[in-house]
């Protein structure tokens, strides 16, 4: 282990309410509570665990994908307080008290979210690995009112790489999904 790390707190709890004094947590596991898809989850993570890894490995929400782990592909896109972010470049411990939405939280039961339905309808994918991220970015751009035309869609979707190159169908899906969401 890194000898530069002094023996201070090795474990702790990060409550969602503000503490009386800022406590130093880690490097060992920290108890946190995350609100994901409307459900509260208690989990134990080291501070170094990214939100992406916490979702995939602790909460078993594997719909969020790891494509680069460096914010360069968008496969790990989730919504945090309704804004699209790359979950690979943020720490799980930083999201106590946030509302997190992953691809698993979009549909209502068997009823697909309108954007998901539009992606199915327009074949907005090939291999499907980038799809959860694409769908969430699309939902965010519609909710934020950025649907001002095809160029705006392309711009807002430019942080989601599709290596299969299904961009044409993704564009059609986003256009249609926006109509369905209206």
């Amino acid at each position: 282990m890194d000898s530069a790390i002094p023996e201070l707190a090795t474990a702790g709890t990060l409550p969602s309410a503000a503490p009386a004094a800022a406590s130093i947590l880690g490097p060992g596991e920290v108890q946190i509570e995350l609100e994901v898809n409307g459900e509260r989850h208690e989990l134990s993570v080291e501070p170094r665990v990214t939100l992406l890894d916490a979702l995939r490995e602790r909460l078993k929400l594997t719909g969020t994908k790891k494509g680069c782990d460096q914010g360069t592909c968008g496969a790990c896109t989730v919504l945090v307080n309704d804004r699209a972010i790359d979950s690979c470049l943020t720490l799980a411990v930083m999201h106590v008290g946030d509302r997190i939405t992953t691809i698993e939280g979009l549909a209502s039961g068997e009823q697909l979210h309108p954007m998901q339905a539009a992606f199915v309808e327009h074949d907005g994918f090939q291999c499907g690995y980038c799809t959860p991220g694409q769908v969430l970015s699309a939902v965010a751009l519609v909710r934020e009112g950025r649907m001002t035309g095809d160029d705006a869609i392309r711009e807002q979707m430019s942080g989601n790489i599709c290596r299969c190159g299904a961009y044409e169908n993704i564009l059609a899906a986003v256009r249609d999904g926006a109509r369905r969401m209206a």
Partner: protein
């Protein structure tokens, strides 16, 4: 990532104190820079102090000044109507940076503290003076297509990564900080340091000094401004070269000019001689070309990046034309 400790500071003083007592501690806001570098093992902080709760994210116009909270996200600033109206080069620089997701995450303070994208800097087995002084620079004599044509030294020829910093340099923005020694205000021109023989020292910030806000003084040359970015793909990519430019044009004559270049130097590269050359001249293509040539007069390539000299000159012309015709 190596293990580290984590704390959420509640106010700036607490954040500063927590970092001050630990030489290996860092602040974290958006996390997009520091976590990226930690994954590559380039940075190994012992403690990350989360500053997201220490202050607000407001963008406030007061008279001829706009104050941007350091914790405002890039997308907040890019979307702000006052910024778009009074400092379009700032909004344009942000909109041409990163991706929508990253702009939602990255803070303005963090953006200014970005580190170079030099591939040797990010490869811990390659020698790099910025990572460890004295190891040598792999880019000199190596792959240097993306490297500096201005301001490099024998120890480092990297280029600064931030687009925003280039716009802020052209805008003469002021960076306000909160540190162990109290608060201070630093001009962008004094904020970034040339590598010389200490490329590991990149800014005027002291350890534990925290950026609290950035202020812009509004003027006509900032209101009539743009940001031109040339890069290898349409979006989601760092600049090969970029230009932040603003001009005040009255009756066809240039009254004031602001020009800074990005992607060409280890720091945002202001070109005062070119600005001076424009003042008093007619707003014409010939004036722009002449200013571009002056701007690039001292540029020197190191092999792979020789093309940047002409490219940057053309980008200056492009930027001036855009605001020349808009005026």
């Amino acid at each position: 990532m190596k293990p580290f400790r984590y704390a959420r500071a509640r106010d700036p003083q607490e954040a500063v104190q927590m970092v001050a007592v630990d030489a290996a501690a860092s602040f974290v806001a958006g996390g997009t820079t520091v976590l990226d570098l930690m994954k590559d093992d380039v940075e190994r902080p012992s403690l990350l102090v989360d500053i997201n709760g220490v202050a607000g994210r407001a963008i406030v116009r007061a008279g001829d000044e706009i104050a941007i909270a350091a914790l405002a996200r890039m997308s907040d600033v890019a979307d702000d109507p006052e910024i778009a109206k009074h400092a379009p080069m700032v909004a344009n620089a942000l909109l041409q940076s990163a991706s929508p997701q990253l702009r939602n995450m990255a803070s303005i303070g963090g953006n200014l503290m970005q580190r170079t994208r030099c591939s040797y800097f990010r490869d811990i087995v390659a020698p790099c003076n910025k990572r460890r002084r004295g190891d040598g620079c792999s880019a000199i004599g190596g792959e240097n297509r993306r490297h500096a044509i201005f301001g490099g030294s024998e120890s480092c020829i990297c280029v600064h990564a931030s687009d925003l910093a280039v716009a802020l340099a052209a805008a003469d923005a002021t960076i306000h900080t909160n540190g162990p020694g109290g608060t201070r205000a630093i001009q962008v021109s004094d904020f970034y340091l040339l590598p010389r023989d200490t490329p590991n020292v990149e800014t005027a910030l002291h350890h534990a000094e925290l950026i609290s806000s950035v202020t812009l003084s509004l003027d006509p040359a900032l209101a009539n401004s743009t940001y031109v970015k040339v890069r290898d793909r349409a979006q989601y990519e760092f600049a090969l070269v970029s230009v932040a430019a603003g001009m005040e044009i009255v009756g066809g004559t240039i009254r004031a000019a602001r020009i800074a270049l990005g992607g060409v130097a280890p720091i945002p590269w202001r070109v005062p001689e070119a600005e001076a050359a424009l003042v008093g001249r007619p707003a014409t293509a010939a004036s722009y070309r002449e200013a571009a040539e002056i701007a690039l007069a001292g540029a020197r390539g190191c092999g792979g990046n020789d093309f940047k000299v002409a490219l940057a000159a053309n980008a200056v012309v492009r930027a001036l034309e855009q605001i020349g015709s808009a005026a």
